[in-house]
């Protein structure tokens, strides 16, 4: 049984502290899911209007920036009758911990959903420590 969808609003992103962007369009913060799995962290972001060519993922020190460019898709010769959402680029910034293996981050975009799989560095994986039984060695000589 599927539940009904919670109401969602498109959230405006803040002006980044680094300054204004040169593109004159609105900027939104995409909704994300962040899942921690055994060997990696998965970040899933809803960015409608974005494909693999228009998404930029940059990692500087341990700051991860996701940026998605969206081309305006308003039809010509029509007037706006109802507007429930705005169209603009997407941006979201995260601070990663040292547990991520930066070189192995993988990104895919499908139907406007960005999926980042970030493998944990070897040290962060929980290792099962094998326990060896310590027994009495030797052979019992029964004579």
């Amino acid at each position: 049984m599927t539940d009904t969808v919670r109401e969602m609003q498109k959230k405006e992103a803040e002006t980044p502290e680094t300054g204004e962007r040169t593109r004159a369009c609105r900027i939104y913060a995409p909704l994300v899911d962040i899942i921690e799995r055994k060997d990696d962290i998965v970040v899933i972001a809803d960015m409608a209007g974005v494909d693999e060519k228009s998404v930029d993922i940059t990692l500087e020190k341990n700051v991860l920036t996701i940026y998605g460019r969206v081309d305006a898709y308003t039809p010509e010769n029509h007037r706006l009758f109802l507007s429930e959402y705005g169209i603009g680029d997407y941006q979201r910034v995260f601070t990663l911990s040292d547990e991520i293996d930066r070189d192995k981050i993988q990104a895919t975009v499908k139907n406007g959903v960005l999926r980042l799989v970030m493998p944990k560095a070897e040290l962060a994986k929980t290792r099962k420590i094998p326990i060896q039984a310590e027994g009495i060695g030797g052979v019992l000589n029964l004579s």
Partner: protein
């Protein structure tokens, strides 16, 4: 493990969210563009399974239905954040004029659904010629 978002406001109070709360719309949000004989509806539904998408048009009313599965988590996996929607939605929309349901076209690309709706012929304004003596 530390995760932090470079957000100025904490999650408990966000003045922008409070403002937006006053303008809640039924999911999914749509934009409707209209000309004399045509309407275009766009909505952002990324990650939707196109097979679950159901668009039905009757006269001047449009109904949109679709669903998206949530990620299935295995044993030992957990969410740090869960902001994205999942489940089924149904939305009904009243158009400014009746539509020719046989000529409605829909395209779904990059998570955006575009629906093109031509106005019903019978509803188009007719020029009335005046006969004079």
């Amino acid at each position: 493990m530390l995760w932090s978002d470079l957000e100025k406001f904490g999650r408990s109070f966000d003045p922008w969210r409070e403002f937006e709360r006053m303008e809640r719309v039924e999911f999914p949000a749509v934009n409707v563009w209209v000309s004399g004989d045509h309407a275009v509806i766009t909505t952002e539904i990324p990650g939707i399974d196109p097979k679950t998408l159901d668009i039905s048009v009757v006269n001047d009313s449009l109904m949109l239905r679709g669903s998206r599965q949530a990620e299935v988590l295995k044993e030992g996996e957990s969410y740090h954040r869960s902001e994205r929607w999942s489940g089924q939605f149904t939305k009904t929309l009243k158009l400014p004029f009746p539509v020719d349901s046989g000529k409605v076209e829909a395209q779904f690309a990059k998570g955006i659904l575009h629906i093109s709706l031509p106005r019903a012929e019978a509803d188009k304004p007719r020029k009335i010629s005046v006969k004079s003596e």
